[in-house]
């Protein structure tokens, strides 16, 4: 997926950043959350909504790892799974723009996970991906309900809807649209 121009990245970060009431620096620098009282340097306590964003970013990394595992096991699935992979990359990109910087030595909120080893069977690999995506939808919908910010809830809802769409498309047999098929 080609890199987005900086202006576009800031625009989408601003959308989600505003949802979390975080200061978004237009120059594209890292977001610096205010230090809570009594906390020393290096300690970043997350708000409930920030925790939802971090958890969702982690789940997206896991989902992408499963997709990669499926394409490694069955290279022919790469074409089928590329749209889903690209969608999740875009989802992660928007969310990563508002995750507070982590103290040195702590895990990245957008980790690159080792792909699981999946069987070299197309149907089994695809079913594994679908189970992963269905779990992602359930988790994101739950967090959407928990979000204090309405704008964040809307972002998570759209993410869940996108994942549901892609899952449905992967599950459906290859047929013509209903109007053309009669």
């Amino acid at each position: 997926m080609p890199a987005l121009p900086e202006s576009r990245r800031v625009s989408r970060r601003a959308t989600v950043g505003a949802a979390l009431a975080l200061p978004v620096v237009a120059a594209g620098c890292d977001i610096d959350p205010p230090r809570r009282r009594g906390e020393g340097p290096g300690v970043v306590r997350l708000t409930p909504d920030e925790e939802l964003v971090v958890a969702t970013a982690a789940d997206l990394a896991l989902a992408r790892a499963v997709i990669e595992g499926a394409t490694l096991a069955v290279p022919a699935l790469a074409v089928t799974l590329t749209p889903l992979s690209q969608a999740h990359a875009a989802h992660a990109d928007v969310l990563s723009g508002v995750v507070p910087p982590r103290p040195p030595g702590t895990a990245s909120p957008d980790p690159v996970l080792d792909p699981p080893r999946l069987p070299a069977d197309r149907d089994r690999a695809l079913r594994r991906v679908l189970r992963s995506e269905q779990q992602l939808v359930r988790d994101v919908l739950r967090r959407c309900g928990q979000a204090e910010s309405g704008d964040l809830a809307r972002v998570l809802a759209s993410l869940a809807a996108s994942t549901s769409q892609h899952s449905a498309a992967l599950s459906a047999p290859a047929t013509a649209a209903v109007g053309g098929a009669g």
């Binding site: 875009a90 309405g150 809307r154 759209s158 498309a169 209903v178 109007g179 053309g180 009669g182």
Partner: protein
């Protein structure tokens, strides 16, 4: 916008959607286009249930539900199955956006319900020839 205002706005959209679905279904031959006819019938029933639930939410909030218009404009040129399918696709795409707006301005049971309906519309439109997108109902995030 308050949750009540968002509920009323969504209800107003549902009145229009239900009317449109009725017209699309009336212009579809069950014999010649059974798959499309069934899809439109399912869509009509879903939106009717959605309208009824929205009315209840508004009543629970102590307000009078906004009434449907006497009629809505549906292009007379939409007659062929592919055109009717496209109109249904556009309807569900718009519904997804409206429901996401309700998600943003609601909480608790209303938000949960709006979420379910938004996911349904965003998925149902695939049956009308739609394709998965990255940010259904929130196209500005795709910019």
């Amino acid at each position: 916008m308050s949750e009540l205002d968002a509920l009323q706005a969504t209800l107003a959209d549902e009145h229009a959607a239900l009317y449109t679905y009725g017209v699309l279904g009336a212009r579809t031959s069950q014999a010649a286009s059974p798959t499309l006819f069934d899809a439109l019938t399912t869509g009509y029933r879903r939106h009717r249930a959605r309208r009824d639930q929205l009315r209840l939410y508004v009543l629970d909030a102590g307000a009078e539900p906004v009434a449907a218009e006497v009629a809505y404009v549906v292009d007379d040129a939409l007659q062929q199955p592919a055109q009717l399918e496209r109109a249904a696709l556009d309807l569900e795409t718009a519904s997804t956006g409206t429901l996401l707006a309700l998600v943003a301005t609601s909480s608790g049971a209303v938000r949960g319900w709006a979420l379910t309906e938004a996911v349904w519309s965003s998925t149902w439109l695939l049956g009308y020839g739609g394709t998965p997108t990255t940010w259904p109902g929130a196209p500005e995030l795709d910019a």
